[in-house]
């Protein structure tokens, strides 16, 4: 098993864990953490799969750097919104708004 494949397999595990967390956990902070786990998984897969020829391929590295910047910005926005929601309504979960209204 090459090191690249190990990275990819671990990445898939992290991605699935993160996706499950985002879908199943009710607490918003946990959802946001799960998103970061999911993102890390995708980055690992990107770096791992791109090391096929033994050499280092710079393009996925650049992609992962860009992706990290995006993930940090998104996390910051999500945390700010969560704080605002908590300050306004005291809730840390999304209310289950049914289909109407």
């Amino acid at each position: 098993m090459s090191s690249g494949l190990v990275y990819a397999v671990v990445g898939v595990l992290l991605f699935v864990l993160g996706a499950a967390g985002m879908l199943l956990l009710p607490h918003l902070l946990r959802k946001i953490l799960a998103f970061n786990l999911l993102g890390s998984g995708a980055f690992l897969i990107l770096v791992g799969l791109a090391q096929r020829d033994g050499g280092v391929d710079p393009v996925p590295h650049a992609m992962v750097l860009t992706g990290i910047v995006v993930a940090v910005a998104a996390t910051a926005l999500a945390l700010a919104l969560l704080r605002r929601l908590h300050a306004l309504s005291g809730r840390t979960q999304l209310a289950d708004e049914s289909a109407d209204e």
């Binding site: 998103f35 995708a42 096929r52 391929d57």
Partner: protein, 486 residues
């Protein structure tokens, strides 16, 4: 004039970024004129680009002269050009409306926070959308998707009340989950082919590695989630129905179209062979969206929720085209025409909802009683937009549905044509529900706040444009024949 500086494409991204940044530095609530001037310039540049495209064919631009794979390439073809035109045109009208909407101090209640942050966020939104339409590689598309999502979430949350923040958070989490899945798809594609440039990727063949099929599934689901196709529509009504009217207009008319464009582009290109085997799935989900969205629109208590559920239904039509895609191009034309006419009509409809909200301070459908005599222009605009959504001639919506039925009958597939017709009837029901209420006589005539005429007439102009589009539609669709630059 061959200097790259004179190339239009990068300016379509730089201009909105520039005026959005300036508006942000300028301070809360400022920058409306700047935004209007910038968007007018973008509209002119887009028209020039369309003329270039018609005479010279598809264009490419290597940003900074670097060129792919190291640099970023921008590319325009007929499909992206039509979407760019729609984006600038609707945004320009919405901005004229928004300037009057947000400076009016007298009424409403949902505009206070949004007034402060609308212009910078709208600029970033436009920059992200233009960049998305111009992008030529999968990873760049991921970045633009994220930028678009973040700007849109910001606009939903800008009003600042608990319901809006809650809707924005839900929207953000859905958007992030979808982007994560899309990114994993990009990773798998890069791992399989060693490139993400759309022009360099081979068409997915039958013996493609399993990773590519998995990537197709991940990216497909991600884009459907972001486009809010049934059953992934749950986040859309609170986000679109709860935001201030100009924001709802931008989101419903433009933002969901951007992800649809990407779904269409990948379905026609990279994943086309796969699409032929499972094309019935988006078609089926689209049909379900038409019925479910229309049913919810019929039941909605608030006007803006009604219009938001109407968006869920109308998005369904966009996905009906996938089972009908054929070399004759009829279904593709139908899809693009539906995207254009729905964009114009839905923006107009949310703008009229904003006018009703501003004059009465209330948003319930029941409160519209007697509004016909007092706001005839606005009600007429609502009716015209409804004509497009129902698909009555000569509107753009009629042309779209006609082409769709034509494509279905040409292939002898009556079922899809029946869905289109049934959907039109359901649309008529919820549009007439509003119009009937507006004509109802009422004893109580609560005082109506005065409303700036700009609000009424910009909504009217967009609604009229959506109807007139049907007369000139085939000429617009000629743009689609322009292929990509080699």
């Amino acid at each position: 004039m061959n200097d790259p500086v004179y190339d239009v494409a990068p300016w379509l991204v730089l201009l909105p970024l520039a005026w959005a940044g300036l508006a942000f530095v300028w301070g809360p609530g400022r920058g409306a004129r700047l935004a209007l001037a910038g968007t007018a310039l973008q509209l002119l540049l887009t028209l020039r680009l369309a003329a270039e495209l018609l005479s010279l064919g598809g264009r490419r631009h290597a940003v900074g002269g670097w060129g792919a794979p190291l640099g970023i390439d921008l590319a325009v073809d007929g499909l992206s050009m039509t979407m760019l035109l729609l984006t600038q045109a609707v945004a320009f009208a919405v901005f004229i409306y928004a300037r009057a909407y947000f400076t009016d101090r007298s009424a409403d209640g949902d505009g206070h926070g949004a007034r402060n942050h609308f212009w910078p966020l709208a600029g970033f939104l436009l920059a992200a959308m233009n960049a998305l339409y111009l992008s030529a590689d999968l990873f760049n598309l991921y970045v633009t998707l994220e930028l678009l999502g973040l700007a849109a979430v910001g606009l939903v949350a800008a009003g600042g009340n608990a319901a809006q923040v809650s809707a924005a958070l839900r929207y953000l989490l859905v958007s992030l989950l979808a982007s994560g899945a899309y990114l994993l798809g990009v990773a798998l594609i890069y791992g399989s082919y060693g490139t993400v440039a759309l022009s360099a990727l081979p068409l997915m063949s039958a013996d493609a590695p399993l990773a590519v099929a998995l990537a197709a599934a991940l990216m497909g689901v991600a884009l459907l989630l972001k486009t809010a196709l049934f059953p992934f529509h749950f986040w859309l009504p609170p986000a679109h129905g709860g935001a201030p009217a100009p924001v709802s207009a931008l989101l419903s008319a433009l933002v969901v179209k951007a992800t649809f464009y990407l779904f269409l582009r990948l379905g026609l290109g990279l994943f086309a062979p796969l699409g032929e085997t499972i094309a019935w799935l988006p078609g089926l989900l689209g049909s379900a969206a038409i019925f479910w969205g229309s049913w919810q629109a019929l039941r909605a208590q608030r006007l803006k929720m009604l219009v938001a559920y109407s968006t869920v239904a109308q998005l369904g039509y966009l996905f009906l085209i996938f089972p009908l895609l054929a070399p004759d191009g009829l279904a593709l034309q139908a899809g693009v025409m539906q995207a254009l006419s729905h964009g114009l009509a839905k923006a107009a409809m949310f703008m009229t909802a904003g006018v009703f909200l501003q004059v009465s301070g209330r948003d319930a459908v029941a409160d519209l009683a007697g509004v016909a005599g007092r706001l005839p222009v606005t009600l007429f605009a609502f009716g015209l937009a409804g004509v497009t959504l129902m698909g009555l001639p000569p509107s753009g919506g009629f042309l779209a549905k006609w082409l769709l039925i034509d494509a279905a009958l040409a292939q002898g597939r009556w079922g899809w044509a029946a869905v289109v017709i049934a959907g039109g009837l359901l649309t008529a029901l919820y549009v007439f529900r509003v119009v009937r209420q507006a004509f109802a006589s009422t004893e109580a005539r609560p005082p109506l706040a005065p409303v700036p005429r700009t609000l009424e007439w910009t909504a009217f102009a967009l609604a009229a444009a959506s109807v007139l589009l049907g007369l000139r539609g085939m000429e617009v669709l000629h743009l689609l024949d322009v292929g990509a630059a080699s």
